[in-house]
């Protein structure tokens, strides 16, 4: 059996900076990072607003948000698929089977994670800051950016969790991206493909590359956060 040979093949692909593999890695990072940035830009203020404002249905909203953290990627993918399909409401945009569609699907997956964490963190911080900020004449709306900025170290963890989810999922991007070679093939869909070809060592090798990338990004964010935390107290 050529098991070890395939694994060597994986290592060779990586260390020879195989152009096809580099393209796949670049696409994975681009799609997942974009999804995380968009989701964070939307979810951080939304989470903070839910934390600060009282309105009817707030409890239900928080519950739904928490539940959506467990939204199966396949379901998210299916929803985006139905939305972007020619037969769907946004079909005319022609976005299905493009990286943009994958970004949309992953944004959908990451949003609840970041929003739910943002709500929790900001709610706790508001408890601590409320009197002081109100004393300074800060209303709840104006408090959102202040609290988000002061909670930035805790929020980074949530954003990283979102990135972890985006970079690890295969179900959503497979459905809306189509795993098209050279266009929408990402690390996870390539791993799924190699697995279904029975090329398990290569699949595992790719999996380790993915893990390494995610680990590097996490470590970088963690280091940045820790050093800033030490400086800022």
């Amino acid at each position: 059996m050529s098991g070890s040979g395939s694994f060597e093949q994986a290592l060779n692909l990586i260390f020879s900076f195989d152009p096809a593999l580099m393209e796949i890695i670049a696409l994975s990072l681009r799609v997942s990072l974009t999804a995380v940035v968009i989701a964070a830009v939307l979810a951080l203020p939304v989470g903070a607003a839910i934390a600060l404002f009282r309105f009817p249905g707030r409890g239900a909203l928080v519950t739904v948000l928490n539940a959506l953290m467990g939204l199966p990627p396949v379901v998210a993918g299916l929803m985006v698929y139905l939305l972007l399909s020619r037969a769907g409401p946004l079909g005319s945009l022609g976005l299905l089977f493009t990286p943009t569609a994958m970004v949309v699907a992953q944004t959908l997956l990451v949003f609840p994670i970041v929003a739910a964490l943002s709500r929790q963190v900001v709610e706790d911080l508001w408890e601590e800051y409320r009197e002081q900020l109100q004393s300074l004449g800060c209303n709840r709306l104006r408090a959102i950016p202040t609290l988000l900025w002061d909670a930035r170290f805790s929020l980074i963890t949530g954003v990283l969790a979102g990135f972890g989810r985006a970079s690890a999922e295969v179900g959503a991007v497979l459905i809306v991206g189509g795993n098209i070679d050279g266009v929408t093939r990402m690390m996870t869909t390539a791993i799924a493909l190699e697995t279904s070809k029975g090329n398990l060592p290569l699949a595992l090798g790719l999996g380790m590359v993915l893990l390494l990338l995610v680990a590097i990004i996490n470590a970088a964010a963690y280091q940045m956060g820790e050093s800033a935390k030490r400086r800022l107290g």
């Binding site: 800051y129 109100q134 004393s135 004449g137 800060c138 800022l232 107290g233």
Partner: protein, 246 residues
């Protein structure tokens, strides 16, 4: 201060039949109190008498369950009235940014133009001997420095009235002195002072008049000399002697 503040004064503050209930407990009741345009009022009373609550009601952080809290400028917006006040808490809440940025943030909330914030913030830091610490993260300052920064932040806002809720209870003697000097500086600027304390010596040093609270009611309100020399009630007398009363 800006023109508006000069043209009309926020004070006096009038509290009429104010009560405050929380979870079926009456914490303050029958509060009738007038705070005049100048001077230093010290709130005294045992723990749980309602000193902090009363200050928060005056400052507008809490709304009374019944009764009214009325400023002389009652026709102005909530935001306008709030901008003419400041409060320093027992434990200052400082943002995770530099000392200077903390003051800039407060100035921004008060609508001060961006171009002016830095100068005003530096001046306030300088006034309280914190200029050399301006770039330091606020959260890593010592307790005394943090409280001075909170005072500098209040200073930059040029309030007409300053509330201080036991501002020195967590500080060492040198820092206490710095806070008391700061309060004196505020008063010299014409700022109305309302503070609570547990330190009887501090109360004697600083009070022009004393509001003595007991079990959620104003038990006595008198000029400081009168209150300390000849308290009108046995409870106040016992409190001044340092006997615990509830």
């Amino acid at each position: 201060m800006n023109d508006m503040a000069i043209s009309e004064r926020l004070l006096p503050l009038q509290l009429n039949d104010v009560s405050f209930r929380h979870r079926n407990q009456t914490l303050l009741q029958d509060i009738n109190l007038q705070l005049g345009v100048s001077g230093r009022t010290v709130l005294l009373g045992p723990n749980g008498a309602g000193k902090s609550l009363l200050m928060r009601l005056c400052h507008g952080l809490l709304d009374p369950t019944s009764g009214t809290v009325r400023w002389a400028l009652d026709n102005r917006s909530w935001a306008d009235i709030r901008q003419r006040q400041a409060m320093v808490f027992q434990r200052p809440v400082l943002l995770r940014r530099s000392a200077l940025a903390n003051i800039r943030h407060a100035l921004a909330l008060h609508g001060v133009k961006r171009s002016e914030r830095n100068t005003l913030a530096m001046a306030a830091l300088d006034r309280f001997g914190l200029a050399s610490l301006s770039a330091r993260p606020a959260r890593v300052l010592s307790g005394g420095e943090q409280q001075r920064l909170a005072l500098a932040r209040a200073w930059a806002l040029q309030p007409e009235i300053l509330f201080l809720d036991e501002p020195t209870s967590a500080l060492d003697p040198a820092a206490v002195k710095a806070v008391e000097d700061a309060v004196a500086a505020f008063q010299a600027l014409g700022t109305r002072i309302v503070m609570s304390t547990h330190d009887m010596g501090q109360a004697r040093r600083m009070a022009d008049d004393v509001v003595f609270l007991l079990r959620g009611r104003v038990h006595e309100h008198a000029p400081a000399s009168t209150f300390f020399e000849s308290p009108q009630t046995p409870e106040a007398a016992a409190f001044i002697r340092g006997e615990l009363i509830w």
